[in-house]
Symmetry: C2
Subunit: 198 residues, 2 copies
DNA sequence: ACGGAATCCGACCGGTCGTGCTAATCTGCG
DNA sequence: CGCAGATTAGCACGACCGGTCGGATTCCGT
């Protein structure tokens, strides 16, 4: 790894950490440069614009999410075990990836809600891709008989994201000590729903 | 209404609108002053600090929410109809209150996630109060036999917020045209859950 | 109508932001 | 070693930020 790409990696590591703490709009050049042991202009030369830096940090965070939360599913039993594994690891993101703070993607949803641009476009794609991953896991669980026939993967994925979102609210913002328990119970209810009507 | 309080009301009206579009950190003094037909220092004299302005705007938004979304429940049938009414009006907030943009409270969750302060403290209280309102509606629905005996109001309120959060994500950020349909279906499933095991 | 208080303005402060530009330094190859 | 190109530092810019202050203006009770 050449010097340049190593520095770039150091910058992005600091950027992802910062994004977890203060969002992607909080990626201010001066403090970030200090964290990455550079000057502001030295850092800037690697990206050329703040938006490019934000996109790169988003990409890096997504890669971390993929390898920390999604990828381990390959080692789990197909169907419901795999779905349950991804969801429960998802609940521990971003801590499980060694990152501080809270989920940067949820922060980005608010930050780039109104203003268009590259970051928003990339973010919606990332969400859609992950949504499809969930849907495939659900469909697989249905095929394995772990979920009732007729379960809509899209609807299920939507409600799963709802649970993760509410968990973020209860755990990270409200600091409710019972947040995890409630989320697990809600997941169990979602999975168990309809079982008795088979 | 004296001149001062009238101006203050004009400022807060502009502030709530702005908060719906750019969040409470987006309440920058200069642009807000222009919207309220004042100079920056003239506006500032009414609050004394940006934090006080944010708190006042939060208070105003909460009052609007109360009278637009919650209060109409008094005219609805006790129990499930009342709960359903509040939830469906909630889905149309803040548009139903004549406000542009999206829910300012969800934006505030991200903005004040990490930094402590008056705004965060006030916001958690507002959330807790509304959560209690929901829990009482749920408890009433249980008493009327509209929801299964043994339904936990706290758990139900948690999952209801989850649905509203996911709706915000799907509708406002992802701009999914089927968001409303999916949210209504999820609500129906949440209400109907367990019915068949009574 | 008058005087004191409430209200508002305009100019200004120190600081931070993203963004360019040039010059110095460093790295890796021949 | 020496040179070319990649890499970083240094510096300055215009814009915007929240906040301050003195004075002008307007309001309102008497």
């Amino acid at each position: 790894m050449s010097k340049g790409t190593e520095t770039r990696a150091r910058i992005l590591a600091a950027a992802v950490e910062t994004a977890c703490l203060t969002g992607f709009n909080g990626l201010n050049l001066q403090p970030l440069a200090v964290r990455a042991r550079l000057t502001k202009s030295g850092l800037y030369a690697h990206f050329g614009s703040k938006e490019a830096l934000q996109v790169a940090a988003l990409e890096r965070a997504a890669a971390l999410f993929q390898q920390t939360i999604v990828a381990p599913a390959k080692a789990e039993g197909a169907g419901l075990p795999r779905l349950r594994g991804v969801f429960h690891r998802w609940l521990e993101w971003p801590g499980r990836a060694g990152l501080p703070g809270h989920c940067p993607f949820f922060a980005a949803v608010v930050e780039f809600d109104h203003d268009e641009g590259l970051v928003r476009a990339r973010l919606t794609r990332l969400f859609r891709d992950f949504q499809q991953v969930i849907e495939q896991l659900v469909a697989s669980a249905v095929r394995h008989g772990h979920l009732p026939e007729g379960t809509s993967p899209t609807q299920f994925a939507h409600e799963l994201l709802a649970l993760r979102y509410a968990h973020h609210w209860a755990q990270d913002f409200m600091r409710d000590p019972q947040a995890m328990m409630r989320t697990r119970e809600a997941f169990a209810a979602l999975v168990g729903r309809g079982r008795n009507v088979i």
